[in-house]
Symmetry: C2
Subunit: 460 residues, 2 copies
């Protein structure tokens, strides 16, 4: 039963399990107490902090353990913004950050702060130049992920850190997806990460704040973790987090080469095996273990369900999955197809045979879903008969609007238009993406009585 969703949560590393068990016996007492159980707990906490700080590349007294990566991001952003309130209240971040960053930014804006969202290219990467352009006199903080959690693209963190340094603006790096693979290069000021992403236990995040960075903790005072993370320390989990970070780092060089080759194979084979697929994200500057692709004419939830039946656990940024009705903000910011989206993120130790079996199963599953939805087969369009057509896809959810468009595009002559009426949020992203994939012209969107009218001109 291959689990291919390490980017959501990695299975517990054996070293984490072992360390957790030991620390349950030795580390349950309050490390602030002076009796022997407390002193023992304090020793464990200090050792864990030293090990984690070494892996992060900071001093132990710069590192705080938080209850999760999300809390590390929330505390890091709110503390850095408050610490530099006199400078200004402008916050910079990329359009493809994790929701914890975007939600922090929204909270900041709701409290009267100003924000600049930096756009990404079609691979999901920001340019350092784009960051340079939005930094202002009153910029209090800039945020940038080390690598994207949905498409794996690495960001130019060192370059952005350098120009932030030159502008006197601290940079917070969300390293949740990459810290297990290696330290974040360059002169970042704050760093956040999450243990369960590298095979550590849940319940532990890291927040590093470099000496000299102005930082004012928000919320009620508390004496734990230098005042930066309120509440009794989750010590056994902290010990396990530090031990497993050290362990995965020791394996990272060899394992990243191995998984990179497996992902390269998926990137190469999926477009050969499955028609009408777009593999997204940077093919080279990327996380070793993660690949994302989208399949035209497929809905993500059905695809995930069928892959689960075939014993593959993957995730999706499609709009029609799980609890969300909007397509992934990452895919939207990249301007790529979101329908039939699949993210494969391989845990360390994934066998090559599992990947081969996935490549074996995927084409059949996609074909079945397409057949069930009545999707068009990739074939020469039928002779053109009318100059323009209107397709009513109101009330229909993705991928139906795109399927309807694809079915009739051949019925208009070259230069003619198809107008798709749709009230599905995903259509706004997926109809232009389909046009780009099919080399048709996306004319634009007009408001309609219900939803929008998307106009497409046939070119080929």
């Amino acid at each position: 039963m291959p689990y291919f969703d390490a980017a959501s949560s990695a299975p517990l590393h054996p070293v984490a399990r072992q360390a957790l068990l030991a620390a349950l016996d030795e580390g349950w007492a309050d490390p602030a107490r002076l009796y022997r159980e407390g002193r023992r707990a304090r020793l464990l906490l200090d050792a864990a902090r030293e090990a984690a700080a070494e892996a992060v590349g900071c001093r132990p007294d710069e590192l705080t353990f938080t209850p999760s990566g999300t809390r590390a991001v929330h505390s890091g952003i709110s503390g850095a913004l408050a610490g530099r309130r006199r400078v200004g209240r402008h916050l910079v971040f990329s359009a493809v950050e994790h929701s914890s960053v975007l939600h922090s930014a929204a909270a900041h804006e709701a409290q009267g702060g100003s924000v600049s969202e930096v756009a990404v290219d079609r691979s999901g990467a920001v340019s350092a130049q784009a960051y340079a352009e939005v930094l202002r006199e009153d910029t209090a903080l800039a945020c940038l992920q080390s690598a994207n959690h949905e498409v794996g693209t690495e960001q130019p963190v060192a370059e952005v850190a350098e120009l932030c340094r030159a502008a006197g603006v601290p940079l917070l790096v969300d390293a949740a997806q990459s810290l297990g693979w290696g330290p974040v290069p360059g002169g970042w000021s704050l760093l956040a990460a999450s243990a369960h992403k590298w095979g550590g236990p849940s319940g532990v995040g890291l927040l590093a704040v470099r000496k000299g960075v102005r930082f004012t903790v928000q919320g009620p005072a508390d004496e734990r973790e230098a005042g930066r993370a309120a509440g009794f320390e989750n010590l056994p989990a902290i010990v396990a987090a530090a031990a497993s970070l050290r362990a995965v780092r020791a394996e990272a060089a060899a394992e990243s080469v191995r998984l990179r080759a497996l992902v390269d194979r998926i990137r190469a084979r999926v477009p050969q095996l499955v028609p009408d697929v777009e593999v997204v994200g940077d093919p080279v500057r990327r996380l070793p273990h993660l690949v994302t692709f989208s399949c035209l004419y497929v809905d993500g939830e059905t695809l995930l369900h069928e892959l689960d039946r075939a014993e593959f656990s993957v995730s999706s940024g499609s709009s029609c999955t799980s609890s969300t009705l909007a397509p992934s903000h990452v895919l939207r910011a990249m301007g790529v197809l979101s329908e039939g989206n699949v993210r494969v993120s391989l845990p360390t130790g994934t066998a090559g045979e599992e990947v081969e079996r996935f490549l074996d199963v995927l084409p059949r599953v996609v074909a079945e879903v397409r057949e069930r939805l009545g999707a068009p087969v990739s074939a020469p369009p039928s002779p053109a008969v009318t100059a323009s057509l209107v397709v009513d896809a109101l009330g229909k959810r993705c991928p139906i609007p795109v399927i309807e468009l694809a079915k009739v595009i051949g019925e208009v002559p070259r230069g003619g238009t198809v107008t798709v009426l749709s009230d599905d949020e995903a259509a706004r992203l997926d109809i232009p993406a389909w046009c780009a994939m099919r080399e048709q012209e996306y004319v634009g969107e007009e408001p309609a009585d219900r939803g929008s009218a998307y106009v497409v001109r046939r070119l080929t």
Copy 2:
């Protein structure tokens, strides 16, 4: 090596350990995902919530798992205050609440809110009447602990809840110390608790918010835990917390009777075995496992150190312990002696022989510390020679000022005074407490060039 500090953190219950181990294997995945590992995690989370809600006495959808008891209190207070901002910004709490409540109140005051602190009597209990008197039109929230964490005194929660209900004010109960012993009675509106206090793992708190209570989550949005606790769920620990709560509850009836008898024995024997001791807290309306006493002429840190050498782990609210220089706010609010303070809180399973051994060791340890400090032996005072005396104890930390006072009180005639000059914060509490214990008259405190002058009149 008897560990008598369960009120700080209880050793992990065997059921918690067992449940944690099982959940490490079954519950590491993201419960929001639809594939089988996610569905399995979701089932575990739902079952844990149902079990914990039953033990709390609320509906599962009223219960949120937080990263700690402190975070439950912080979120509960900030959310309830924000939810009732239109009503007003007045917050009520007792003078002996846990620091997480007091720090939340300080943060609220710093943001322009108003607060009322309800005083306690010498046993540490509030009166319902005192709560009734401070409730106002603009009171947004009242807070009251179920039982005090330092002296064990139970609070009249049901009565206070009833009059809060009548006044239309929600009551938040901090049940951290009592939830393992039984549900909190009465019509509370919000409840906070902490798993590591009942033998569950660290990293898990509970926050219950009754349906109908206005509640507006503060901080950045997050989809986890109904938006009330941001970050990836600490699932294995949550499962262990719920399982152990159920387990300790099953043992609570028998174990509370047994530990109550052991604590009664400590309460009775310590004053017989150790001269000049004050046992504090309500002798009857109290937690079953906790007792606190203070020893005149002893400093808390040395006492704890010597008890640790004798293999007993206890804690202290004395000023001269660990990282704090101020005596416990609880002892101060009660107006009882803080010097030589010892809190004994027995974990479940404590054997009677361990308590007997403690009673055997304690008198010797106290006598040694007193001898080292040159404390007066309880003996008839020497003949009076002068009508008034001034003792300079400037620069000397507790318990020296009280020792100096006790040494010379016999040198003034009945009706004469001793003035103690002291710049030690604990003297303000301990000199009046000594007067009460010794039946001397505490005349009052006057500002001096350095510190204060404490005037005591000899009566006996």
